[in-house]
Structures are given as structure tokens and as C-alpha cells.
């Protein structure tokens, strides 16, 4: 079984993904059987399947690197359980690099 997830990259994150601002992906419903796929699994899956180089600009200490905000269905992932959030079919997940310019 697989889950369809919409991924978006913004604030410069897209430059790590060939300038793609979004991607519809299919991921296994259980990347680490028997556990359902969670955000932790998804982040590693993205590193292994979508990110081609410089993983340090995306991952640090087994989570997204400092300065990246993750949104799950238009909500700060901290309100949804962060790494433990279980991915659901149809989820809309955004990785935003915070901007500092003015």
C-alpha cells in the first residue's frame, strides 16, 4: 500500500530540488514495518529519493536542519507531533527555508 503526498519547497528550499517548487509523490504506507510511515521516515525518504546532493543543507541530527519550518496541511508541524506525525494519504507537506533578507 502506498500514500500519495504533496510536497512543496519554498523560501529557497526548491534550489536543493532542481528548482522544483512542488512534487506529488507516492511513498510506502509503512517505510519501517510494522510502523506506519511518519515524518521522520518521510524526511529520510526525501533525502534518499529526491535530494541529489548536499544532504547537510536539508537534514541535520536526524531532523530538518535549523532554519527550516515544516508545515503539515497549512499548520506548523509542532502542533501535529513533529517527527512522530503519521503521514496520511493526501497530506500537503511544505518545507520552508526562513528568509532573513530585507
Amino acid at each position: 500500500m502506498s500514500l500519495k503526498v504533496k510536497l512543496s519547497f519554498s523560501g529557497g528550499m526548491e534550489l536543493l530540488f532542481n528548482n522544483n517548487k512542488s512534487a506529488e509523490v507516492k511513498i510506502p504506507a509503512s517505510i519501517n514495518p510494522p510502523n506506519p510511515t511518519n515524518m521522520q521516515d518521510l524526511i529520510f525518504w526525501i533525502r534518499d529519493n529526491l535530494l541529489k546532493e548536499r544532504p547537510g543543507l536539508f537534514i541535520s541530527e536526524n531532523t530538518v536542519r535549523p532554519g527550516i519550518l515544516v508545515l503539515i496541511n497549512e499548520t506548523d508541524w509542532e502542533l501535529e507531533g513533529e517527527l512522530d506525525y503519521e503521514i496520511k494519504d493526501g497530506d500537503d507537506i511544505v518545507f520552508i527555508s526562513t528568509l532573513h533578507g530585507g
Partner: protein, 292 residues
């Protein structure tokens, strides 16, 4: 300070606001008595300063340590060709005074003023300046100053209207306000210096800074006059000029109990060395590597 009435010139000047539903005389008097500090007189600070002054904010402070350069003029519309080499803070003050009657013919009863601070804001001077203002607008261009402003606003209990812009994108939120998060609640650790890009290196379109800076003025006005909607969640506005839809509003976490500065048991009680903390400072215009 000042009377609780408007003068006839003020009625004529602010008529379009006085008739706004839910605004009126009380709100205009609040704007006249509020003090707002704009940190950064660049792309974001330009429209923020213009719209705050135009709306009748009685006391504006503008902080910037840079001078006006040719490459600024593509977006920093508060400066001009003739001001090259002049302090940005003074140039912004001059522009604000140009269309603000109040600053030119001050009413002795009313404490109207615009102060330019041609200084580099750091741990040694930030608290003293910030203490004197009611609302702080973060229109800066580097991570170290963003942490500095955050910590100073938490320590002094001021709302921080934070905007940022890069390339075709912008972000906007209010920190340390109504039990919402501070910058450290969202970002306890600074980003690796090699992932940080400023406008000099990444580029930015002027109209993008115009949108975000105008929205910063609007948020500061709403806070000053108490117009904000109690049912509105803590949120971050994301703007991307080449995405559809261009604006998204994101619901944010509240204040975090474990936050090092605004949490229940703060470990940070005074300002830090932010250049060391971030690995780069306000004057580092071009970090060695820039990818993001």
C-alpha cells in the same frame, strides 16, 4: 502626552481613517501617542516607515547603520539618487518629514517626532533603544540582528513585527505577542551560515519588499490601535510571487514552555553575542558559500 483631541489640520489630514468603521477618533489618538521603532531602512523599512508616518504615528524611530548605495535604489524607494552616501536612517527621516506636516510644524502639546539612529544595533545598545518604543518592526537583513531583536523584545516585553524578503518570496509574522511564539520558539538554533542568503547575494524584486513592508506597517497599526481579531490564530504569512496561490497563511505553535528565552524557565536572561551565535553578523555582506 498631548491633548485627547485632534486639531483641525489633523482632522483634514486623517479624515479617510477617521471614517473607517471600527477606527475613528480613538484609534487616531492612539496612533498619535504610540511609538514605533523600525529596524532597517532598506527594502522593507522604506514602505513600513512611509505608511506608518503617513498614518499619523506620533513617534517613529528608524535604525540603520548603512549608507545609501546605487544598488539600493531598485527597491528602497524612500531614498533617492541625491542621497547616495548619506546615512540611510537620516535619508528615511528626511523623506518621512517631507510628507508629514506633523514633523515639520510640531504641535507643542503633542510629542511628534522622528528619530534617526545611525548606529549598528548590538547587545550593548539594543535594550536601551528598544525600551523607549511600544512596537518594534524587524526590517533587517541578517540572522544575527533577528535573534538580537527577538531577545531584546522578549526581555522588554515588546511585540516584534517581523518581515523578510528574498528573491520573489516574503514572510511575515508577529513574535512575542499575545502568548504567541518568539523567534527562538520557532528556531531555537540558528541556521548554518552557509545556508543563509541576503538580498545582496540572492537578489530581490522591489515590489516584493513593498508588499511585505506595507503589511508590516498594517500589522503595527492594528496592534497600536487594538484592531486585531481575537479569533485569529498565531500565524505566519508566506508570499511567493511566482506560486499560485501567491499567499498562504500558516497556523503557528504558541509560546513554548521550553523556550530558552520566553519559556517558563529561561536560560537566557540578557543579550548574547549574536555574531558568534549565528556564525555571521550584520556586517558580513557576503558569506563564503551561499546556496540557499
Amino acid at each position: 502626552t498631548g491633548s485627547q483631541q485632534l486639531s483641525l489640520p489633523e482632522y483634514l489630514r486623517y479624515g479617510r481613517q477617521l471614517i473607517l468603521p471600527g477606527f475613528g477618533l480613538p484609534a487616531q489618538l492612539k496612533l498619535r501617542s504610540v511609538s514605533i521603532l523600525i529596524v532597517g531602512a532598506g527594502g522593507l523599512g522604506a514602505p513600513a516607515a512611509m505608511y506608518l508616518a503617513a498614518a499619523g504615528v506620533g513617534h517613529l524611530g528608524i535604525v540603520d547603520y548603512d549608507n545609501v548605495e546605487t544598488s539600493n535604489l531598485q527597491r528602497q524607494v524612500i531614498h533617492s539618487e541625491f542621497r547616495q552616501g548619506l546615512s540611510k536612517a537620516y535619508s528615511a527621516k528626511m523623506s518621512v518629514e517631507r510628507y508629514s506636516h506633523r514633523f515639520l510644524t510640531p504641535d507643542k502639546d503633542v510629542n511628534h517626532m522622528c528619530i534617526a539612529y545611525n548606529i549598528l544595533l548590538d547587545s550593548s545598545n539594543a535594550l536601551k533603544i528598544i525600551k523607549a518604543y511600544d512596537i518594534i518592526v524587524d526590517a533587517t537583513d541578517n540572522v544575527a540582528t533577528r535573534y538580537l531583536l527577538n531577545d531584546a523584545c522578549v526581555i522588554t516585553g515588546k511585540p516584534l513585527v517581523s518581515g523578510s524578503a528574498l528573491r520573489m518570496d516574503g514572510q511575515l509574522t508577529v513574535y512575542n505577542y499575545k502568548n504567541g511564539p518568539c523567534y527562538r520558539c520557532l528556531f531555537p538554533k540558528p541556521p548554518p551560515p552557509e545556508t543563509v542568503v541576503n538580498c545582496s547575494d540572492g537578489g530581490v524584486l522591489g515590489a516584493v519588499t513593498g508588499v511585505i513592508g506595507s503589511l508590516q506597517a498594517l500589522l503595527a497599526i492594528k496592534i497600536a490601535v487594538g484592531m486585531d481579531d481575537p479569533s485569529e490564530p498565531h500565524n505566519l504569512l508566506i508570499f511567493s510571487a511566482n506560486s499560485y496561490p501567491p499567499f498562504r497563511s500558516i497556523k503557528l505553535r504558541g509560546r513554548k514552555k521550553e523556550c530558552a528565552i520566553c519559556g517558563d524557565n529561561p536560560t537566557i536572561k540578557e543579550l548574547q553575542d549574536y555574531v558568534q551565535f549565528c556564525g555571521s553578523g550584520a556586517l558580513d555582506k557576503s558569506p563564503e558559500t551561499m546556496l540557499l
